[in-house]
Amino acid sequence: MTLFSLARWWGIVLKEFLQLRRDRITFGMIIGLPIVQLALFGFAINADPRHMPTAVVLHDHSEYTRSFVTAMRQSTYFDIAGSLDSEEAARAALAQGRVQFVLMVPPGFTRELLRGERPALLIEADATDPAATGMALAAAGEIAQSVLRHDLRGPDSRLAGQPAPFEVRVHRLYNPEGNSQYNTVPGLMGVILTMTMVMMTGLAMTRERERGTMENLLATPVRPIEVMTGKIIPYIAIGLIQATIILLAARWVFHVPFTGSLVSIYCAALLFIAATLTVGITLSSLAQNQLQAMQLTMFYFLPNILLSGFMFPFRGMPQWAQYIGNVLPLTHFNRLIRGILLKGNGWWDLWPSIWPLLLFTAVVMAIAVKFYRRTLD
């Protein structure tokens, strides 16, 4: 016996190549994953988000307020989404996440400005994710220093010096200390649930197929919907246990504020678990074996973690990435859980993120039932 036979070794190499070539999904993943990763990291992710939707509440109109709004837009950090009538409407828009910032101009602003009384403009920011708002708020401060130098002419030019003739006051709502853990820890809940739920159910069905017990199951009178939902139930329980562990850690280890109700948290978690489990079941009817189920899980996990606003600010992504992100359940769950914990949102404010989850679950479930083969054909 030789210690190392090239012929024997080459036999192993050839066998591996042959097996790799037969496994289409694995092969697809080898090509597909780097492309997706390149696209996501290369184009979608942006740690300096710009063009964030901003509403204005103008109780005073003048060339000075207009200049300020224009300067905000020109800074490219703020996109003026529209004008609102009241503080209440502004708060609702922030709570629902429709806008990131609200600029409020108090009544009599121009009059006080020209009198040299240094009036204040108010910017309310949804600071749940400190990374998303930090740069923009810094930019707003700089605008205040310079914007009116051109507008204040003639006798008013005395106001144009230092300090700025008016003040920009910033309210960082929901996370005033800018603690990034308050944003990350609730987000982790969805990430962990996605990972475990999809993988476990993904394996559940392929395991039956791999072990040959699927044929037995198909030969009994069991119906597809019974198999699918029956397989999901134990994992719902597991998901709720995981959610509880994360919530306990969030409360007692990371001291995340629990502004909203615990009932809403669990309802949101349940909804999200259901959505995620249907994904797992669907992947498992597509995959031929457990390895493929694992790979499909990774393929699903990657965009979820990158495009959902968990790791990088959602608003920082280009439009196409936001469209994709809006399809993913994790995006909506992140909004729900942060909305409940940090903003104390009620059902009405949560609805814009609830219906996409319901729709997603229904559509994916329909696909799963369609793909579940009642026969061995």
């Binding site: 072990r211 040959g212 017990t213 699927m214 044929e215 037995n216 198909l218 030969a219 009994t220 009178p221 069991v222 009642r374 026969t375 061995l376 054909d377």
Partner: protein, 312 residues
């Protein structure tokens, strides 16, 4: 109610461009043990799967227990016990848990009691809490049979149930099958063993997806009209070689120290063999043509007719 437990016509199934089952028609009477024979890859499993609704036939039609195999698969599944070729119960469940699952899925009314009784009858009551994966092949097969009998099916479809099982366990298994048949349960069983084939009331032989013969063992043997002689002595391999192209000889099969020589032309075969026996001073005796002779004969002929020559 028809007299037939299975009555199918022209079943055909194609996978890709390979016609795995080609126009198979067969009838199994109620209370009959029907043997399904054929070489590996001849389409036995595919045929069985079509009969119990696990596969949809590309062509053909038929009934199973009076229910249409295309449209009433649910009714059939409820009344048929199907034992897969590969053991397909859950290795990570205990015996009792496996049986309990089956009983629930078939909505058995007196589930608990029935599971316990089945365990008793199997002689497995003491090992009910053992994981199924740790059972030996023979016990797994007994468990599988018990599990597919649990819902009291009227028809059993058994796909090579005794593959890899020792002779004693096989004999017990067949005695159980005959007891079931006596109770009116119909059985379709595929097998490779000739002794098992001989214990069936009726047989069907399939090769290359086509049904080549159907009937009792005697009918199948008679239909091929083979005359068979036995030659004894040493050097049977060389002998078979010389006989290959001899007039009247169509097939030689070695059985230990004896060589079965068969052919359809009984007269020519006899002349050839008597001459040879005299030349070589060998003992020659007329023999009964056996099922095995006939099956090997049919397989070779079908290979010449349909097969590409290559067998898996």
């Amino acid at each position: 109610m028809s007299d037939y437990a299975i009555d199918v016509q022209g079943l055909t199934k194609q996978f890709g461009d390979k016609r795995v089952v080609d126009g198979v028609s067969l009838q199994v009477r109620r209370g009959e043990i029907f043997g399904f024979l054929g070489p590996n890859g001849s389409g036995k499993t595919t045929s069985i799967r079509m009969m119990c609704g696990l596969l949809t036939p590309d062509a053909g039609s038929g009934q199973c227990l009076g229910y249409d195999i295309r449209s009433q698969a649910d009714e059939i599944k409820r009344r048929v016990g199907y034992m897969t070729q590969k053991f397909s119960y859950w290795d990570d469940l205990t015996l009792r848990e496996n049986l309990d699952f089956v009983a629930r899925v078939y909505q058995m009314p007196d589930r608990r009691e029935r599971v316990e009784r089945t365990l008793e009858e199997l002689g497995l009551a003491g090992r009910a809490r053992q994981l199924t994966g740790s059972l030996s092949g023979g016990w797994k097969q007994r468990l599988a049979l018990a599990a597919c009998l649990l819902h009291e099916p009227q028809l059993l479809l058994l796909d090579e149930p005794t593959a890899g099982v020792d002779p004693t366990a096989r004999r017990d298994f067949w005695e159980e099958l005959h007891r079931l048949a006596a109770r009116g349960i119909s059985v379709l069983v595929s097998t490779h063993y000739m002794d098992e084939a001989e214990r069936c009331h009726k047989l069907a032989y399939i090769a290359y997806g086509r049904l080549l013969a159907q009937g009792t063992a005697d009918e199948i043997i008679a239909a091929q009209q083979l005359a068979t002689w036995t030659l004894y002595g040493d050097g049977l391999v060389e002998l078979a070689q010389t006989l290959r192209d001899a007039p009247g000889v169509e097939q030689t099969v070695a059985f230990g120290n004896a060589l079965h020589v068969s052919g359809r032309d009984a007269a020519t075969l006899e002349i050839t063999l008597r001459e040879l026996a005299q030349q070589q001073q060998r003992r020659l005796e007329p023999a009964q043509t056996t099922l095995e002779d006939v099956f090997i004969y049919m397989m070779k002929r079908s290979a010449d007719n349909f097969g590409s020559g290559a067998r898996p």
